[in-house]
Each structure stands twice: as structure tokens, then as C-alpha cells.
Symmetry: C2
Subunit: 389 residues, 2 copies
Amino acid sequence: MSQSLKFSVISKVSDSKARAGFFETGHGIVETPAFMPVGTQGTVKAVNQNLLEQDIKAQILLSNTYHLYLRPGTEILEKAGGLHKFMNWSKPILTDSGGYQVYSLSSLRKLKEDGVEFRSHLDGSTHFFSPEKVIQIQRSIGSDIMMVLDECTPYPCDFEYAENSTELTSRWAILNKEAFENSEQLYDHQQFLFGIIQGSIYKELREKSAEGLKKLDFNGYAIGGLAVGEPAEVMYDITNFTTDLMPEDKPRYLMGVGRPENILESIDRGIDMFDCVMPTRNARHGVLFTTQGVLTLTNSKFKEDFEKVDEYCDCYTCKNYSRAYLRHLFNAGELLALELASIHNLHFYISLVVEARRRILDGSFNKWKNEIIKKISIKNNPREIGMEE
Amino acid sequence: MSQSLKFSVISKVSDSKARAGFFETGHGIVETPAFMPVGTQGTVKAVNQNLLEQDIKAQILLSNTYHLYLRPGTEILEKAGGLHKFMNWSKPILTDSGGYQVYSLSSLRKLKEDGVEFRSHLDGSTHFFSPEKVIQIQRSIGSDIMMVLDECTPYPCDFEYAENSTELTSRWAILNKEAFENSEQLYDHQQFLFGIIQGSIYKELREKSAEGLKKLDFNGYAIGGLAVGEPAEVMYDITNFTTDLMPEDKPRYLMGVGRPENILESIDRGIDMFDCVMPTRNARHGVLFTTQGVLTLTNSKFKEDFEKVDEYCDCYTCKNYSRAYLRHLFNAGELLALELASIHNLHFYISLVVEARRRILDGSFNKWKNEIIKKISIKNNPREIGMEE
């Protein structure tokens, strides 16, 4: 019988739903709000694990079940002793269930009552993911937090499609929980399972989804099906509505979000956990986040700018290199550009949630949030690249 | 008036011309034999400066005048305060003169008495390198060791072409030395100038070239025009012949060499300094050097091999990751593969010359060299990629 995830909320804010807390896994504590760098294939693109831990100070990574299942495959992961050992990462890992990638990457997806058939984006081979199967794969991976198989509805999505899809996700959730209870961990640390609330932009569907999942008593709850193209205001509204339906004593995870201001606005609406490819993907295109807004370092205006990327940042990149040097590296097509920019952007995201946590603890979150969003908002930074991979 | 480079030979071997020594620059001491990682565009491909210094323990880098002149250009380098500051590298830097890249990379090269006209490989723009010009560019770069402009003869090369070319290089050497003496350093460290002995595979030309250069009293002497396609035995023979012509009390640099066994055989023949793209370029193709021979990590036979790349290596890669993980990263096209493999190969090369130095000091160089070459020789490792960039 598995134990509950120990999640403690240690501070709330009076004028906001924001909360600071922490939870414990076999690979250590995660302080919330938390941002999880995305390590799709068992590596955060362009950044080594030492920098992730020591400089960027990531407390938890996300990795993708769909990708790891296809490559290197569960057999190799099991022989390695799980993903932590395979990639040499001793802190917590969360894996998604693969549902989103089946929807976004694979061809010829066939949704059936008992799961989803799809073709690999790598070689066209046919595979089948069921709730039982994705639990089994995540047992092989050994992630600290596993996610249930769901269907991620697209945007826009009509009510009937969303209703049927959400009901399917709810039926799968039961099977996921059963498979979780009936399976054993393969390694010497406990694994936890989070449910995913779907329902597109329809509040009555979100409500039904949340009610169904809560009965199953998951270790945490995620909001899925947002950040798929809907306006930010809609995302905030649905997030705000849905967090009211979620247990107070379990972590709340908003999947795939987002821009820096999306993260702060969602913390304000009661979210504890985030993941997004934005910091790393923008970095690889020379788009860097700073406390003063976005810099596009491929721009020639930086060629004689010997300042650091962000004067308030103490990441490895900002401590050692100038904008002009990074601009040169991008201009010359050098690989080091991708590493240095990725380090900075991940450090920015992690520092942002760490600062948010500090502000929640000292009661100044809302005031700080409104000030910083003015500087970093997408409205003033049109060169950012979106969050959809 | 510039001071001489202080070069001390501290140990020689009785059964070999191998020697251990060191020289001092304004950016610190370089122990010889030394291997210089190649940082063509002001960055060693895929490896950050912290790892280069702390893990790989590079004592000196090579950077390319041709590339830096085209991008970012001397104006930006001067505004940055020189290349050391621009790239944040506090140890010594050697720059080539650009002669080799004009020969290997540019189109429409026109050799004239007073220099060489060429078109940029980047945008086709026309440029002119003279002996004076390349000194001026290297003053802007601020490299600790500058190289003279030369013509690098191709292989094969008939005697008449080689003779004319070598005489031109010798006339340019005089102009280089004059330009060096008549120009000032731009930053607060002294720069030194090395001459380059040419002469293709013709010993009488090597002799004439060396005699001419020695009269000019350079701070060190390089052998150019080897490692351009000739058989290894020819390279060794010309190297051995030429080092006898070179001053005992100045560093001897064999340009662009080479495979690990080429380096050891050339140390045996009296060479002190090396540079080569082989470690980094092979790394990016998944070809890793080890004390037991070469591993091609893209090979599927490594997919369940959880050993370190080289059991005797203590680089960041070997201390933290397995062959199976690296194989996965290469297979999945992940950027981290390039970094981890480059770290290992550079660490291998530097460790090789450090060990050679230790063996020279304790008198066991020749015996050790013959044993290790059996394991690492190209004859047993056909998958290596050549040294020509």
C-alpha cells in the first residue's frame, strides 16, 4: 500500500490564492511554487546536469514518457536502474503520461475506449498506450511523480467533443489508479501519481472532471488542456475556477505553462507547479528573459554591448559573459551560444518562482507580481517564441 | 623593446629528443609538452570556459586570426579589451596568422609579393592579408603568442613550387618581425611572435627556411606545412629533421597535429606544442578517444553498456555518465552529447601530454610511449576522423 505524498502549505497570502509549500519525495524536497525544466529525452537540451543542479538550482525535472518509451526504451532504462541513474540526476523527476505527445507529435492517432493507438514520429511504427501501459512505462522510468493517461483536448474544441473526451479521461483515471495500486515500484524509492483535470474551457466539464478525480484520491492534481492556444485571459479564468475545485492539501500543477507572467498570474490563482519548454526553446533562438524584459541577442544592436545579459542575474552566463560575446556566438553559429542562453533562461525561470515564494512568505507577493509583470509581459516583448513545442 | 619569452627546458630523455619544460606569459605559465584546444571563433566548440579551465585543465588555447578578423572583427575585439576579456579566458591564447585558413577556406586566393588577397568564406567579400596586417590584427586580438603570415604548401607539392613558396614565407618573416618590433601592444600584457618553418617535404628547403628564421630571433618556432595529407612516416621524418635545426632554447610548435600517436611520436622528435581540431571534431561525430582505443558511441553495441567511456579517466563526462547514456544522447540528436564527448576528448588529449611530460621527467617516456601507442594507434582505430578541418 503506497503512502500519501507529504505536501505542506506553509504560507498563504491574504489578497491572493498564492501559496508557498513543499513536498517530499525519495529524491528530496521540492519547494513550491516550483518550475520544472523540461528534459524531454532524459536531458535538458544543451545544459548538463551539474549546471542544472548547482547553478540553475533546479529542484525537479520533467521528462517525457512518450519520448523515453520510444528512445532509449524501457528495457534499457530498467537495466540502467531507472532514469535517475541513467541520466545521473539525483533529484526528483516528474514524467508526463505521453498523452500530450501522442496528440501533438504522432501521426495516425486512433483513440479507443481502452487507450490510444499511434504511430511513432521517429519511424512510423505502431504503438498502443493504455492507462495500464503508461503506468508500467513510468514504473520502468522510475519517476518520482507519474501522470495519468489523458486526452488533451485541442483549442478551440466544441462542447460535445470536450464532454466525451473529458468523460474518457475520467474513465481512464480509474484504470490508471488501479494500475498504480496493483503495480510495484522497481527501484528503492516510492512513486506518486497525479490525476489530470480536463474539460477544455467549459467550467461544468472542469467541475465534473475534478469531482471524479478527487474521489480517486491522487497524490496531486494537474490542470491539463490549457496553454494550447486559448487567450491568456481564458487560461487564467479556467485556472482560477479549477483551483477552487482542487484539494487544498495536494500539489496543483498547471501543465505546459508558460510565459513568465503566465506563471506569476497562475501562482496568484493557486497553482504550485509548472513546466514549459519556453526558457530552453527561446534560448536556442537567442531570445533571453531578463528582469527588464526580453532581449533578442541575435540582433546586431548588441554587438558592442559588453554588459551582462541581466544586471540582476547571477547565473553562470551573466557572471562570466557579455551580451556582445553571446551575440557573436549566435552570429557565428557556435554551440556554446545554446548552452549559455539556456542556462540563463532556466535560471531566470527558477529564480522567478523562488522570488515568488519568498514574496508569498513575506506577504508582498501581489504588489511585487504586478510590478514585475509590467516589465516582463509579452505585451512589451513581442519577440518571444510561444510555449507549444 | 620587447623582452624574450622565458622558456626553460627542465628535463630531457637520454633515448629520445623528448623534453619537458615551461614558458611564461602575462596570462600564466604553460607547461610543455602542451596541447592547445582549438577555439576557432573565440570558443572551443560545445565546451564552456569553466570546464576548459577546471575540468579539462587547458593551459593555453588556440584561436584563429582569419575567423576572428571576419567575425566579430577587430573593432569589437578592441572595444572588448581583447580576446581574453571578450571570451572570458584568463589563461594564455595563441593565434595563428590566418595563412592556413586563407589556403583552406577562402575562395579566389591571389598570392602576391606583399601578401594574399582572398574572398571571405562567409560573404564573398574581398580582403588582403599582409605580414603587417596580420600583426596588426593579432595586436587587436591580444593573443599572448602571435604567428607570422606564411604560405602553407599543399601535399603533394613539387620542388619548384615549394622552393618559391618557402622563399616568399621567408621574405614575409622579415616583414612580420619588423611589423612586430614597430607595433605596440594594445593591452597590459606582452605579446610574443613565433616564426614558421616551411619547406614541404624537402629537407634542403626546411634547412634554408630554418636558417633564415633563426637570424630573426623569434620567440619560438613552428613547423608548418605538415599534417596536410602526407604519410605519417614522412611527417615524422621531416619533423625529426627540422627539430635538429631549431634552437634548443625556444619552444617548438608542430602546427595542426594530430592523432594521439602523432603527438607522442612528435614529442619523441623534440616538439613542445600542438594544436588540432581532432578531439573536438571527432567528439561531435561520437568518436571518443580512450586509453584502450577509440569508441564510436553512435554504435548500437553501446546501448546497454553502462560503463564509463574510459575507466581510467576522471573527466566530468566519465565521472558522471555512461556509454549507454552518451549513445542515447547521440542517437536522439541531443546537444548534450556534443558537450560531453568534447569534454572527454579534450581531457584525453591534455592528459596524454601531461602524462608524457611526467614520463619525460621520470625517464620512462620512451617505454611508455611505445606501449600506449599500440593501444591507441589509428591502425587499430579505423573509425577516427582526420585532422583536416
